[in-house]
């Protein structure tokens, strides 16, 4: 087919509309949120996590039982008996309130563990990546050496030395957990620091801490957040594992891990003791993992497969 000149006509052009920006410009976070909203799994995860956290915060406040109240007349009650929604344990303690107190401890361990990891990882990785050269070399050799120590071995040793307790468990879990974070931060910083805006900032005389805090970290925040969402379920998992082998938070405190561990011992006769804490752990970990996947896709679309 041949196109003839007569088939075309000049409709003119309007400079003002040609230059007009039709779509509003989005910041990094708006853009990420726009993508995250389209991911049903991530949104479900956010909803579940919100519900779990609200229950963990408020349920123990308004419950008529406390997590340590014993009722020896009503031990090992089935779920639903006499207002005990999840039943009671072998000392007649209300399982419903204990699951939510357990949620407090487990989520606390998960979040604090992740925050410690974040702070140490960012400082260590940031300094190492920013300084470069020999400082970087030495700092990364230290990480290499620590990397080969089996994490579980380190955790068990620390808890044995310091004695069991909430603080010890958090410390033990984050003792080696920051290593991958330090590596991620360093790698990202190395990539960003050669870019022009960093040179510009340096020319203007920005101090090292300002360079790291204002220019480098905000530009590498995506992978850091993604790693963080995955380290929360990691910490919750390790807490459950430690409780299971008898190194968790001491009684009468309860975490999901200790509840599940005690429930497991009475599995055959009283499965509800294991059922509810297990569902809670699995639900929380599933949500964090789904949220992490969603965030990774939203913050760094290049990684999406």
């Amino acid at each position: 087919m041949e196109l003839k000149h007569e088939q075309f006509r000049v409709i003119g052009k309007d400079l003002s509309t040609a230059q007009k920006i039709v779509r509003p410009s989005l910041t990094y976070w708006q853009d990420a949120w726009r993508r995250l909203k389209k991911n049903p799994a991530a949104i479900t995860a956010i909803v579940i996590l919100t519900i779990l956290s609200l229950l963990a915060i408020f349920q123990p406040m308004f419950s008529k039982y406390s997590y340590s109240d014993q009722n020896l007349m009503l031990t090992l009650a089935r779920p639903g008996v006499e207002g005990h929604l999840f039943g009671t344990d072998n000392l007649g303690r209300d399982l419903f309130v204990r699951v939510w107190v357990g949620a407090r401890i487990s989520l606390l361990i998960g979040i604090t563990g992740a925050l410690i990891e974040l702070v140490i990882g960012i400082i260590y990785g940031g300094v190492s990546g920013y300084k470069g050269g020999n400082v970087d070399n030495i700092m990364m050799r230290v990480v290499d050496v620590l990397y080969v120590i089996p994490e579980v071995v380190m955790m068990i040793l620390l808890i044995m030395v310091m004695g069991p307790g909430l603080f010890t468990v958090i410390l033990a879990i984050s003792s080696l957990h920051w290593l991958p974070m330090a590596r991620i931060v360093r790698g990202q910083i190395l990539q960003v620091k050669e870019q022009e805006f960093v040179l510009a900032a340096r020319t203007l005389g920005a101090s090292p801490s300002r360079m790291i805090g204002r220019h480098l970290i905000p530009n590498v925040i995506g992978p850091i957040i993604v790693r963080l969402t995955f380290s929360i379920p990691g910490a919750i998992f390790f807490e459950a594992f430690l409780s299971f082998i008898g190194m968790g938070v001491p009684q009468p405190l309860a975490s999901w891990g200790t509840l599940a561990a005690t429930g497991q011992q009475q599995l055959i006769a009283h499965p509800h003791l294991l059922l509810f804490p297990s569902i809670a752990i699995s639900l929380a970990m599933l949500s964090f993992n789904m949220l992490g996947d969603g965030l990774r896709d939203a913050l760094d679309p290049r990684l999406r497969k």
Partner: protein
């Protein structure tokens, strides 16, 4: 290649030394000694006992003795089990643990790889979504939840499989599955993304242009290239399976190392804990070494880089 292997072995030995020393010194930081609870023993006798076992000597000397024994493969005596060497306990438990661990790794690897391949070949279709779902479920549900659920459902309710212990093949099914589920999930996820990477490469296009059959392309180009990176992280998974076996062995009453370990922690049997911890550490380090060397043999690019990380 020889130089590369030597370098890796030297590195592994240093790591073992660090892990064992760390374990030993941390154990020394725990207050008390083996005889503190023996009320009926008079103080003078306690002193003699301390002397006999070398506990009165300076820490450095004690450390030297322990390291010498360790190098000779002697991990000391258990506190609580009379006349039992840590070595004997490990020797008795190892066959069970190794059998369970190897089964779990084999199942995890084979099922995970297959799931990953199927997912990548059906990218964004039903099978792909199914395997992503399995993958996310597998990493989210702790092993003991799966183990206990299986035990209750298949063992107690339906009575299809034996509830616990390690005697016949039927006994091994539930523990193996419970231990391998997390690995299945992670291998599937990793294999899927590795496979998708390979499928997008130019040489696949070339192979298609040459007129190779689809099966041939999948088998000798896609799978063979995609499986390589999956092997590198087999090392950490071996460690993970070991960790998981503490829980699984305890739940299913399998007399392996993991069960003894958990028992020794609860009974505060320090030499047994130190011994098994050191043993586990050494095992994990050497498994990593093995995987690294294997990977160096399979993929020459790694050796030239000088690092596998």
């Amino acid at each position: 290649m020889f130089k590369y292997i030597l370098k890796r072995i030297a590195g592994a030995l240093v790591t073992v030394w660090i892990v064992v020393s760390l374990t030993w010194f941390m154990m020394q930081a725990i207050p008390g000694d083996p005889f503190q609870n023996e009320r009926r023993v008079i103080p003078e006798l306690k002193e003699q006992l301390r002397k006999y076992y070398g506990l009165d000597k300076p820490l450095v000397v004690q450390y030297g003795v322990y390291m010498k024994n360790f190098a000779q493969g002697n991990l000391g005596m258990s506190f609580l089990r009379k006349n039992r060497m840590v070595n004997t306990i490990i020797k008795e438990g190892l066959p069970y643990s190794a059998s369970l661990g190897l089964r779990a790794i084999a199942v995890g690897f084979i099922v995970g790889i297959s799931l990953g391949i199927v997912a990548a070949l059906n990218h964004n279709k039903g099978w792909d979504r199914f395997s992503i779902f399995v993958a996310i479920l597998g990493v989210s549900i702790p092993g003991f939840v799966i183990a206990a659920t299986l035990q209750w459902f298949l063992g107690v309710k339906l009575k299809i499989l034996p509830v616990a212990q390690w005697k016949s093949f039927a006994h091994t099914i539930m523990p193996t599955f419970a231990l391998s589920l997390t690995m299945i999930a992670q291998v599937a996820r990793f294999m899927r993304s590795s496979m998708l990477d390979v499928i997008g490469q130019d040489y696949i296009k070339t192979a298609k242009a040459k007129g190779l059959s689809t099966m041939k392309i999948i088998w000798s180009h896609e799978i063979r290239n995609a499986i390589l990176p999956v092997i590198t992280i087999l090392g950490p998974w071996i460690a993970f399976v070991l960790t998981g076996s503490f829980v699984i062995e305890t739940i299913f009453a399998i007399p392996g190392i993991g069960k003894f370990y958990v028992q020794s922690i609860n009974a505060q049997d320090y030499p047994l804990i130190t011994g098994i911890t050191a043993f586990m550490g050494v095992l994990m380090v050497f498994m990593n070494l093995l995987v690294d060397i294997l990977y160096g043999l399979i993929d020459p690019r790694i050796r030239l880089d000088g690092s596998s990380k």
